[in-house]
Amino acid sequence: MGIIRTKDLVYEYVRRDEEGNVEGFTTAVDKVSLDVQAGEFIAILGHNGSGKSTLAKHINAILNPTEGTVWVDGMDTSKEEHVWDIRQRAGMVFQNPDNQIIGQVVEEDVGFGPENMGVPTREIWERVEESLKAVGMYEYRKHSPNKLSGGQKQRVSIAGVLAMHPKCIVLDEPTAMLDPKGRGEVVRAVRALNDVEGITVVLITHYMEEIIHADRVFVMDSGKIAMEGTPREIFSQVEKLQELRLDVPQVTLLAHELQKKGIRLPDGILTVEELADALAAGNEMH
């Protein structure tokens, strides 16, 4: 069994009118079954309201299934006695860095998690150091978080999760509020966690370029998994993604448009270099 597994997961929100009477139910997640192996880099795409954040909140037991089951590292998330352990195994990073940082000094903020878990002081400092180094923020350890840029703050948030030694980390649109440099910093830090530390990553994003290195991509629509595959398989289906209110990286779109004009190119081009090389190779063939 994988590190994150869901079986027929259903989550319903109760809608209430102004008096608090039940008006009906909205099914945000609809019979989702997935199995994520330890060490995988998973990306979840989907339009606003497709259910991806609701799904993600099940992975660290912020939400409990209405029906079906979620297991994290073999533990059923609906069992109260597992909640504490699950939140240590599966850390979560949200969209707005300003809502997640509490410490007055960077290293204090990162130390909060392990301190809360009862880790001995000396080990807390070791964890703070290694976590800040892993996201490239060690030199800022004595700084005040509110003087940092958005990308730096998000990396501090990620370090805060890392210091709890999780097996997986779920990031819900961590770059939505960042400038291009900040986005690049966060994406590089996340890839390093996956490549170097072997931490399982679940990345939710609306920026298509950020997920070209993922092992698998899930696309959600109406609470269901509408597409699943490697980035290349997913981004080969430009029209289908557009129907689902999504997009492809600009380079993929350009290649697709050129294909439509009769230029022979492989499907699902993901990087600038790939496209330039493919066009150059095609050019030499003639």
Partner: protein, 287 residues
């Protein structure tokens, strides 16, 4: 009719030890009906700049003229400026509060002192302009999707009938389709009503696609102020200040390096398709 900033300076914490120069000798002219993109890394002064344009922040020195009037004149009515220059903040849906969408959009014009009928007419007009489906007018704003909430909030500002609309990252957190829909609607508004639009954005692709002119802010100064193809030709300098060019810029440079005769200053997917096809055609291949 325009906005003119003449040697505008602004300092945060002016009297304290941590004074930061947020605007440094900014001179700009924004003519009527232009679609202007403002880019810059976090903390470069973009938001500070736009907050001067509707009088929310007051310059430490320098002058700002709105339609020929000095907004710091003691006779100048700031209230009028605020209704003429509408500012949509980041995550404007956090400011929705009324029981239904329609009441929320009415709040602005009512607050301007318009009678109920006039306020309601303006609200209808504004909701139509942002493309809000009529069946959602009497829904709670909190039950709308992310994109629809954003529309409701923009309609609330449009209902004040501004001449200038400033949007501070209006598409942050929206899905790609929602992003395109909102920006297309704003573009249409500019074309149809000749409204001046200032768009603060972190998405270089969006800016390249929609605006007529780009202002690049860095450390409180205007670093570049030109049409998109000129601004993005400085992509190496933009990277040094935490920005980038649209992905097509990098593709075209990579092709140029491989001997293709492409126009490296094309900034949109459409333009890139043209120049790449042109270059392939000239080589006599693929055809």
């Amino acid at each position: 009719m325009s906005i003119i900033l003449n040697h505008v300076n602004y300092i945060y914490g002016e009297d304290g030890p941590l004074a930061v120069k947020a605007l440094d000798d900014v001179c700009l002219q924004i003519p009527d009906g232009q679609f202007v993109g403002i880019i810059g890394h976090t903390g470069s002064g973009k938001s500070t700049l736009v907050q001067h344009m509707n009088g929310l922040l007051r310059a430490a020195s320098g002058h700002i003229y709105f339609n020929g009037e000095d907004i710091y004149d003691k006779d100048f009515q700031m209230k009028k400026l605020r209704s003429k220059v509408g500012l949509v903040f980041q995550y404007p849906e956090h400011q929705l509060f009324e029981i239904d969408v329609f009441s929320d959009v009415c709040f602005g014009p009512k607050n301007l002192g318009l009678d109920r009928r006039e306020a309601e007419l303006r609200a209808f007009d504004a909701l139509r302009k942002v493309g809000m489906p009529a069946e959602l007018y009497y829904q709670s704003p909190f039950e709308l999707s992310g994109g629809q909430k954003r529309r409701a909030a923009i309609a609330g500002v449009l209902a004040m009938s501004p001449e200038v609309l400033i949007l501070d990252e209006p598409t942050a957190g929206l899905d790609p389709k929602g992003r395109d829909e909102i920006l297309r609607q704003i573009k249409e508004l500019q074309v149809r009503t000749n409204m001046t639009i200032l768009l603060v954005s972190h998405s270089m692709e969006d800016v390249a696609e929609y605006v007529d002119r780009i202002i690049v802010m860095n450390k409180g100064k205007v670093m570049y102020d030109d049409v998109p193809r000129e601004v993005f030709s400085h992509y190496k300098e933009l990277e040094k200040i935490g920005l980038a060019a649209p992905q097509v810029t990098y593709i075209l440079h990579a092709l140029k390096d491989r001997g293709f005769d492409v126009d490296v200053n094309a900034t949109t997917t459409g333009e890139a398709v043209e120049t790449v096809l042109g270059a392939l055609g000239r080589k006599g291949t693929y055809i």
